[in-house]
Amino acid sequence: MKFLERRLVHAILLLIGASALCFLFSTLAPGGYFDEMKLNPQISPGTVAALRSQYELDRPLPVRYEHWVQSVLRGEWGYSFAYNLPVRSLVVVRARNTLLLTSLAMALAWLIAVPLGVWSASRAGRWEDRLSTAGTSLLLSVPELVVALGLLYFAIHTHALPVGGMVSADHDTLGPWGRARDLAAHLVIPVTTLVLASLPILIRHVRASVVEVLQAPFIQAARGHGVGRTSIRFRYALPAAANPLISLFGLSVAGLLSGSLLVEVIVGWPGLGPLLLEACLSRDFYVVVGVVMMSTLFMILGSLLADVMLVIADPRVRMDNV
């Protein structure tokens, strides 16, 4: 249990750090959400001042931070200026959609990357390996933005897939099976973009660590005993190469979340991305902080999951020295 305790303390420190960073940066900002109102002659300066004091924008930073922490503990996460709602109610719904998108993309990306990487490693130096390396280099230099726009262009021209949003307009009239299909059709473009964007890095890492293991003496020995090729690659080499890959799994959550933000904005997926962008443009401070907190939380969960998997996969790793 010491392990969980330490992780919890670490996570809380990280969340405090991230939120403090947000609040610190906010003091650098000239102007805020209510500044535009000051320009409107129909709103009296008194009203604006009252609103500001209602949201405590006239208080010093440490006081605001303290009140925000209290509001987090109450489960409100501060109030949105634009929606006049507790931030948590806004963020949680959006976070669910982002989670659906990113977890699906992550699972698919790993399912594709592991066999491809192992295959490429087993052909190391041959033309198949070179082709795959060239492919990953090319894919690596195509930004998500371009991939998403290209896929949209393709989808619009072929009419094969619905474009924009998470569900069609007639979603509520469909049966349960129809609803699932509708959602799946809307998922294709964003998930494909995310998978394509994260594949090259994953394939490269899988290849690199498997190549190393394939040269090890125990693989030679297994080969000498007449163990089959597929069995050598997946039963013997892959588990030995798994540790750095599992660590990579935790780290790749960050890249995936960043990619997901952009993709969500482009295809109109109602996730955290559009919410953050909107909040940035309107200076809805507590929403920005809430979304950043949520993404930090995802990151923490990702690395926790990676650590737990590491313990399961490798008996040498003990809970107390993770």
Binding site: P143, G150, A254, S258, L277, A279, L281
Partner: protein
């Protein structure tokens, strides 16, 4: 093709791209900001070699583009007259590297024909010229931001590697925070708290500063590692015994070890930061019109009709992909050199 050849090819591609972008005025056939309201969204002008009578010309020529009467953004070629492509023609004045005013351009055609190598945008501005000029902004932003990041990384990495103790501890905790946060979320959050409306140059430097502050953590950790290992060498101890000061040891014995990492990280960071600028400008948080940058050129594609019907608006993406391809290949080559210990 050996990896050495590959690196050379990538480096020459990069050099060519950078030269073309640096001398954008010379390469561009028309002024990137001059609007041509009669010719919005013209598809790329095609270069012909064979004329209507079947005669082959060595010098390529174009036909005059004219709007189809009654058509919306529809154009056709007027085959009545050929306009050969001329080199080193006189055109709009520009500054060479910001200093000398000149008016010669690499290529051009005689009016009334026009040459839009990458089509024109919805204001009738030549997109090829805008990509070149936009490249100046995007690449400069990427390089400056990478410079800031590496400088920060060098300072933090050297300080925490060399002095250890609480400096090391707190710097590395901060680096962890920056590493663990998704960069785009961080970037947007920082951008959210800074003024939205500024003068173009103000926005540019603000953007560079914001982008530059997010990526310092990874190089800082790498540099710290190198400094740690360099510091424990025997010749460092020896020179300390001879009475060398900290600054002398840092400058003379420690810093040279970090150059390889700095170069590799620079080659990795520049394309990443160019993409960051493009992303921010695309989302409307970066540089705005009329200043061209690759991000706001691509932002045209946010309009549904542009995305659907005008494929040449994807042209800036090609430039972006070429630049990152070049940089990543060079970074790979640096990395391999570093691994083999010859750098």
């Amino acid at each position: 093709m050996t990896s050495r050849h590959k690196a050379m090819v990538a480096a020459s591609l990069l050099l060519a791209l950078h030269l073309a972008i640096l001398f954008a005025g010379f390469m561009a056939p028309s002024d990137p900001t001059s609007q041509n309201r009669d010719f919005p969204l013209v598809p790329p002008t095609s270069l012909h070699f064979v004329d209507g009578r079947g005669k082959f010309h060595i010098r390529p020529f174009v036909y005059e583009t004219e709007p189809v009467p009654e058509g919306l953004h529809e154009y056709r070629e007027n085959h009545a007259h050929e306009y050969p492509l001329h080199f080193f023609v006189s055109g709009f004045p520009y500054k060479v590297a910001g200093l000398i005013t000149w008016h010669r351009h690499l290529f051009g055609v005689q009016a009334p024909a026009q040459i839009f190598l990458a089509g024109s945008d919805s204001y009738g501005r030549d997109q090829f010229s805008r990509i070149l000029y936009g490249g100046q902004i995007s690449l400069a932003a990427g390089m400056l931001a990478a410079g800031i990041s590496l400088l920060l990384a060098l300072l933090v990495g050297c300080a925490s590697g060399f002095y250890a103790g609480w400096i090391d501890e707190s710097a590395m905790r901060l680096a962890e925070l920056f590493l663990v946060l998704p960069w785009l979320y961080l970037l947007l959050a920082i951008r959210a708290f800074l003024p939205l409306h500024l003068s173009p140059s103000g926005t540019f430097f603000l953007l560079v500063a914001v982008i530059g502050t997010i990526g310092w953590a990874r190089p800082a950790r790498l540099i710290r590692g190198v400094v740690l290992s360099a510091k424990s060498r025997k010749y460092v101890t020896a020179s300390r015994c001879f009475g060398a000061s900290d600054t002398y040891i840092l400058r003379r014995h420690v810093l040279p070890h970090t150059y390889g990492i700095l170069l590799t990280q620079a080659a990795l960071l520049v394309p990443q930061y160019v993409i960051a600028e493009v992303t921010l400008s695309f989302l409307g948080l970066g540089l705005g019109e009329p200043m061209p940058s690759w991000g706001n050129l691509l932002a045209n594609l946010q309009q549904y009709n542009v995305l659907v019907s005008y494929w040449w608006m994807f042209a800036p993406a090609l430039a972006l992909v070429l630049v990152s391809l070049g940089y990543l290949a060079v970074a790979d080559a640096f990395h391999q050199q570093l691994q083999s210990g010859s750098m």
